[in-house]
């Protein structure tokens, strides 16, 4: 039978990442002052703003490197840091928390590769020990990912034998190896020599094109303009302004955004 009524409009797909009222203070310093944010599946969101504005802290609240003082983080329907028991959310820790966090990838400003492991071991370790792949499966996945970031020939190198750009590409491969639901980038090019920035941004752009959901804290305005679906201007622990890259970067409405963009240009 044909429906008599118009079908109800399909509800928007649920955002893959939702933050509600996230707050974080360090002593008297209010780094993040109550942030609400939704990120859709496959969306690339760039967060820009002055240093010390709390944007890195916000990112670190998502995977509970810095557990928020208040507020909730939901990733793909899972409330991070909680588990429902008898209908009520209860805090979790240890193995259960680690299991939740494993689905949130993160790339750090200082790369943070495991110093005692080769590039291949860095990428294969998570899939092997956390996702439970066999040694062979984990190695194959790591080799594929190293090839994808253009470092197939560096599989046996230790981090200290690699340039900053190469280390960061390994770090991206390590994050991708966990098949993350969302991938966080915390100023991924800020610690790099200028001539090495390009190779990392190229890899990030490729990752974005393949549909990975990305939340990127960055100072690379040209990257934000080219790759981001949305740009957020963050200052003093707040989302000050958000919209398409053209909206925020080319015709900012807020005076603080304008002042910041004038500085970095």
């Amino acid at each position: 039978m044909l429906p008599v009524h118009e079908p109800a409009p399909t509800t928007e797909p649920r955002p893959i990442l939702r933050l509600r009222g996230v707050q974080k203070s360090f002593g008297d310093v209010h780094a993040v002052r109550g942030v609400d944010l939704d990120v859709g599946r496959g969306e690339v969101v760039c967060i820009v703003g002055p240093s010390g504005s709390g944007k890195s802290t916000l990112l670190r609240c998502v995977n509970l490197i810095e557990p928020p003082d208040q507020g909730l983080v939901e990733v793909d329907g899972t409330l991070i840091g909680y588990e429902e028991r008898r209908g009520r959310p209860r805090r979790v820790s240890g193995r259960r928390l680690a299991h939740q966090v494993a689905r949130i990838g993160m790339v750090f400003q200082q790369f943070n590769l495991f110093a005692t492991m080769t590039a291949l071991e860095n990428v294969a370790y998570g899939p092997r020990r956390v996702l439970g792949l066999s040694a062979t499966e984990a190695r194959v996945r790591a080799e594929e990912l190293l090839a994808r970031v253009g470092l197939a020939d560096k599989a046996a190198s230790y981090p200290r034998q690699l340039s900053g750009g190469q280390q960061q590409r390994v770090a991206i491969a390590r994050a991708l190896a966990m098949e993350p639901v969302v991938l966080l980038f915390d100023e991924p090019t800020s610690a790099l020599d200028p001539e090495l920035v390009g190779e990392v941004l190229t890899v990030m752009e490729e990752v974005a094109r393949t549909g990975t959901t990305m939340l990127v804290v960055t100072h690379e305005m040209s990257f934000a303009r080219r790759v981001a679906d949305r740009v957020i201007f963050f200052d003093d622990g707040h989302v000050v302004e958000h919209g398409t890259p053209a909206d925020v970067l080319d015709s900012p409405r807020n005076p603080r955004t304008r002042a910041f963009l004038a500085e970095v240009r």
């Binding site: 680690a98 494993a102 990838g105 943070n112 495991f114 110093a115 005692t116 200290r160 390590r174």
Partner: protein
Amino acid sequence: MTEQQVRDGAPLTRPVTDDSALGRALAAPSLERTHGRSLLLGRAFSVVAVAAAVGLVVVLARNPAMDWPTFAEYLFDERVAAGLRMTLGLTVTVTVASFVLGTVVAAMRLSRMRGVSAIAWAYVSVFRTIPLLVQLLLWFNIGYLFPSIGLTLPFTDLSWSVQTNNLISATTAAFIGLTLHETAYAAEVIRGGILSVERGQHEAAHAIGLTRTRTLFAIVLPSAMRSIIPAGMGLLIGTLKHTAVVSYLAVSDLLYAVQLIYNANYRVIPLLMVAVFWYAVCTTVLSVLQHLLERHFISRYTRGR
């Protein structure tokens, strides 16, 4: 022409002609020689120092009381060998036990749980306070405090007990005392190593979903080895020498073995030299081992040496 040229030919520097400190220093013909003279003085001092050391050794070696024939006679004596085995056995077992326990204490000390951390802190404080010899004597005489140790199953007649003096022999007391003592120091060495590892390593491990325990053992401790190995080997060499105090409890270690011999024949110095010789051999072997360990495990993945 000493001035460097930039691309367009303009000099990067101008000749120094003024009467500044730089000008005077550049003009001084003695600049090289003053450095040379201090180097020469240093060399002269080294030569004198080495000569004095060699002289001292020669004087000692030629002293008739050294009695080298007796030294040679007892160097491979079966009683000395047995003592050396006891010394080495104690050193190895105490080191293994104290590093295992030390890792536990260090992990407890770094725990986020206040109570756990406080217990570890108290342990380290107490066992670094009591002199090793005093502690050994306490363990050896524990029988005065607890004459017998027993277990009784509640609500039954089953019970088991043993005289403490039978349970804790001199060797056991030595092992317990040394281990508890060295554990306190090993815990600090390991804790220092863990703290030397960058925070980023913990964060990266957290981000791929490792628990804190796995992070400690799989990521942090291997990385901490670069500072644990040098300090830990120092501790191991220290343990080797600390075992000499067990001769106070009449445990037949290397020192006790030579004491027994010289108490009988009064050739004190050559027999002490026998002990010195074997302690030196063991220490040297350990130093070489440290060098190999550092080369094998560390230089591969750390900056610098």
